[in-house]
Symmetry: C2
Subunit: 349 residues, 2 copies
């Protein structure tokens, strides 16, 4: 994935790879105002908790990039309104709120500066969120790779790769680092209905990198485990709370139950920006419900009666007691999660 | 589903509803030779264990329907060759082999008759396989409905309905009979990748009958169970062996593990023709692996890199110890399955 950037700032615009069109078309979108970022996040032209945060940060920059340099209240109003609009795009991934909080702090920390200087500070902050994320993923990858057996048959769900982050990925970062460390790795990628991020994005990324990957339907995961074809499951996360419960792409909870039944460890890979230290239990995480259209159509083809009721939650909650470990850039967290996450929160501040 | 017949014999031809085009198009195919039936089974224009058996039986009739009445060895050769070709269409569902065995027995039991009389006997046998199946489904429905709570929230997988049988269905037969008995039933239908029989067929059937149905992606089933939205799972079967292990559409095994974790009963509904009394364990059931194309394309749309490896088993094996009960037309089988299935086999002969 070295030649294709998931997201970058180019001459006053944000350039993103349109993930909704992969793998059929490789289309770059140039976005010049924050409404474009709002729409790209809502419509999932770009998805994945870390990169949603990065995109939102650049969205804040776009909202004021062309603002005049005399109307100070107008400038601040624009930035704050953009932050609120970006916050409302998707409810589950913590990284979105975390990145916008960083942008809000950057704004308030630079109020004594000129508008030109504030613009520059905001851009610097967004670029730092991006570059930090890439470093973070590399660290997660390196730390997590130590958990991999020398011959690892890994099941992964959705896409927690380069396309979900600044680069390198969280779950796929661990796989990449394992391959770089010379481990023999075979990946099974759940296709991940309804939007098929596993089929469209994870296999695309891994093929680009020459990593051995086999695509399966989500409902095939249990059979793979029964046949001893999997010895580790690695997933990303959209939000992790104080007791270690994890919100991630719908289907993760089922994999965790299956993993327990087959005595296979399930590893969660996520940066600290995914942790919500204000919530105690996964029950408190808002779960986004998305449109029926995602399920009843595939491209333009109708694959169910048009008037059928659909229940389409985008995430589920995996209770901490099913999770083997959580790999962060600050180290690997193991049970007891509540105590060990509390320690992490303390060290962080 | 009263106006639309899944399969029928009409003036020397077999008319089937093309399930591969539902729900977008309601197309009837008229098939006039047994090669047409072979292709319809292989390409899944028609699928579902019981109806595959019915179609194969009619295929045998088609193979000799227009044969001359003087060349006796030629006539018998045609019929036997057709039986062999029909047998080779799909490997997992027992009903296919069971129905062809009935046709082979009918043929050998009428060898002393004229060719005209043998033709008529074979047609009569195929029509009896069809009409018996409909009666069988009604009985399974009635017996199984007694297992339903008065307020049943049922998860179902794939399609074990009218479209999988002569009419009425096995798993959906129980649901229909429950509704007829005045129970309050809400159905969640797994879409069932890759061919989406749940999305395309089960919801279509249930909407036609005015039964409350909600479509979900396969990977959402665990979340529904976790949220206490399901109190029973009902599925069909493609083959059941002596110890009670069940081959059914891929994904069934995962549901059974999830059902155990959430303490939800999983009920299997199947006619005796699905039982293979020659095999002792599910390990011995051949599992069909189907083409990668089913997973990487949706209609004409490519949803994964064209060159990605795909593993696409069409069935899995659910071990008997996860199953609550098996509903047949001869009664409900409960654990210990080995003993109770042995008793069934004995009573049958």
């Amino acid at each position: 994935m070295e030649d294709i950037k998931t997201i970058e700032w180019v001459n006053g615009k944000v350039r993103i790879l349109d993930q909704s069109q992969l793998p059929e078309e490789l289309v770059l979108l140039e976005i010049s105002d924050h409404h474009g970022i709002v729409n790209a996040i809502k419509n999932m032209n770009l998805r994945g908790a870390p990169v949603i945060g990065i995109a939102a940060a650049f969205g804040v920059v776009l909202s004021i990039w062309n603002a005049g340099e005399s109307d100070r209240p107008g400038f601040l109003g624009k930035a704050n309104k953009a932050i609120d609009e970006l916050k409302a795009t998707r409810p589950t991934a913590k990284n979105l709120f975390w990145a916008l909080e960083r942008m809000r702090n950057c704004l308030s920390g630079n109020l004594n500066k000129s508008i030109r200087e504030i613009k520059s500070a905001l851009l610097k902050e967004a670029e730092k969120i991006l570059s930090d994320d890439i470093k973070t993923c590399k660290t997660i990858g390196k730390l997590g790779a130590e958990l991999l057996p020398n011959r690892a048959n890994i099941l992964t769900h959705c896409n927690a790769g380069s396309l979900a982050t600044g680069d390198y990925g969280t779950a796929l970062g661990i796989i990449r680092a394992g391959v770089e460390a010379g481990k023999k790795i075979k990946v099974y990628a759940d296709e991940t209905r309804p939007l098929l991020q596993g089929a469209r994005l994870t296999t695309f990324e891994l093929l680009e990198d020459g990593i051995d990957v086999t695509l399966v339907c989500d409902n095939t995961a249990a059979f793979l485990m029964q046949q001893s074809m999997i010895n580790m499951i690695i997933v990303g996360a959209d939000r992790i709370v104080r007791n270690g419960d994890v919100a991630n792409k719908i289907g993760t909870y089922g994999l965790a139950v299956l993993a327990r039944h087959h005595n296979i460890p399930i590893i969660v890979a996520a940066p600290l920006s995914t942790f919500d230290f204000t919530l105690e239990s996964g029950r408190d995480i808002p779960i986004e419900e998305r449109a029926a259209e995602e399920v009843i159509r595939c491209g333009s083809k109708l694959v169910a009666p048009e008037d059928v009721k659909v229940y389409n939650p985008a995430f589920d909650i995996t209770p901490h007691y099913l999770i083997h470990s959580i790999v962060t850039e600050k180290g690997i967290i193991k049970p007891p999660f509540f105590e060990n996450i509390a320690r992490l929160a303390k060290n962080k501040t």
